[in-house]
């Protein structure tokens, strides 16, 4: 791997990190979102506040990042408060948490997320996955949710086999609100290894916003199980910068447990 090469994971993490606003309270999922949050904190968002489902708020994690770490001392280092799961989800429900960052097994046109089963029969699934974890709360309660997902055809499906966490449901206006979900919430961006998506305000359909520099729109669409809307002006997504890669590789994950590329 030369100086400008990068792994898919590195690009996903950098994309995701760039979406994290300075000064936002951000609910962080397990794994890649943790790395993205630390990266954002060290670059453009020193004032972003990490929020974890077990109750830690405002941590400044120690690096190098230790694989598996979440509730441990390195990840919770120098928090402003250690609360509990019920307290922190209550704060999300109150509307205090600006963003959530999540992974997904499948995502569909309307941003519904599946992390439970693949297969048509719930009782005889082809594949069982871990389930919601805290994802349902995050996608239900946080104002804007970023989904970070590898760009694979099997992950982008017309309709998810199981709605673990609610996107825009069937896409009809006000569908979330009619169901009782908090108003004006839902998936906001989908950051993949090739592209960036949002959701159309009116139709609630996934819309392609940008493509990784060097790739074509077709390169992304051919690896999707449905055709998204395409923004009239497409952003060219910059690959990871040297500074981003330096922080990822030297400060955060020198063992490359999450960012990958150790074998190159």
């Amino acid at each position: 791997m030369n100086g400008t090469a990068f792994t898919e994971a590195e690009f996903m993490i950098c994309q995701c990190a760039r979406l994290i606003r300075d000064g936002a309270l951000v609910f962080i999922g397990y794994g890649m979102p943790q790395i993205a949050a630390i990266l954002a904190q060290r670059l453009h968002a020193p004032g972003m506040v990490q929020v974890y489902e077990f109750g830690a708020v405002g941590a400044l994690p120690e690096t190098p990042f230790v694989r598996f770490t979440m509730g441990g001392p390195r990840n919770c280092y120098r928090s402003v408060a250690w609360t509990s799961m019920n307290t922190i989800f209550a704060q999300a429900q109150l509307g205090l948490i600006d963003m959530g960052v999540l992974g997904a097994t499948q995502i569909d046109r309307f941003g519904n997320i599946n992390s439970t089963i693949v297969g048509r029969d719930y009782h005889r699934p082809e594949k069982r996955f871990p389930g919601s974890g805290g994802a349902n709360e995050v996608l239900s309660q946080c104002w804007q949710t970023v989904v970070i997902v590898k760009h694979e055809r099997r992950r982008f499906v017309e309709k998810v086999d199981f709605v673990t966490s609610p996107g825009f449901l069937d896409g009809t206006p006000g569908a979330r609100e009619r169901a009782g979900l908090p108003k004006d919430t839902g998936p906001w961006r989908v950051a993949t290894s090739k592209a960036l998506y949002g959701f159309d305000d009116r139709t609630r359909q996934m819309i392609l916003l940008g493509v990784l520099q060097g790739l074509s729109v077709d390169d992304t669409l051919k690896e999707m199980g449905f055709t998204p809307l395409i923004a009239s002006t497409l952003e060219e997504l910059a690959p990871p910068t040297a500074e981003e890669l330096r922080i990822l590789r030297e400060e955060i994950d020198p063992d490359r447990a999450i960012i990958g590329g150790a074998g190159d």
Binding site: E53, G71, S79, E137
Partner: protein, 323 residues
Amino acid sequence: MDVLQAGVGEFSVTDPDELRAFMRTEKQREMVNKVMPEAEAVRRYVKDGDYVSFDFSSFTRGPASLIREIIRQRRTHLWFAAKFTLMETTLLAAGGCLRGVDVGFLGLGRLISKFVEEGRIKVTEWTNGTLALRHLAGAMGVPFLPTRSLLATDTLTYSGAKVVQDPFAGKPIALVPAVNPDVGLVHVQQCDIYGNARCFGPGVSPLETAMASKRTIISTEEIIPIDDIRKAPSKTTIPYYLVDAVVHAPYGCLPGGTQGLYEMDAAHFLEFMSASRDEQAMAAYLDKYIYSVASHEEFLEKRIGPARLLALKRQAVIKEGYQ
């Protein structure tokens, strides 16, 4: 109360008055010494068919030695609250202990998924947050609590939640039923002989788990005098009358860590992850770390060893906030 939608997942509720009657007669109000070996605590308080809950996670301050003892004693037909679990469901399922799981997070590794795919383990769908909320309802002695999560998902369909119209603001809202585990397992940094227990650092819901559970077993890194407890009552996470047994279990979270005392054993987790790919490898793992050792002490002595214990202790350099 008009129910707009009701999940079809398997669950049961404890009648609040039956729960109260249990708490009245079975929870000891006197301060008595509850210290006992893990084998005795599990023998006394964990029965086949029990609903079991734990706190906090596999990686951090989890009651791993108690889980191993349950497997060692070959309990069966347990239902497990996987509210923040990564390895426990796999271990229990592979050990033949498990009938079903409230998910939460089912766990890491292919094996537990395979058990579910093959219908060998039942599952009811929830979320980490609603499982914590169900414990809070159980801790409050009310039959349900409301939440705006779960709505409009298949997770709700396969849960035991009900959707009703809120009689105050008029919008649909989900009600999750209380859970009152037969047994709650909580590992803590410090506890006195009566069960006054202190957790340091963030956690999922140690107090809710202890309050909601009919029986609570505490495993503790250290046993401290009650005089220390009375000098800093705000540090008491769980008061003694919620506790049925106190097990002295230094390094009781291994391969997970206990904040401020020792780091998790990442190498062991990789070994577990590798074993969690198929049943034979997991059987060998169970044999090595559980069946072939008689107790947690023997596990530490024969399977971990002093060098690794000291290394993990040395790695725990961050002490701030954990006292």
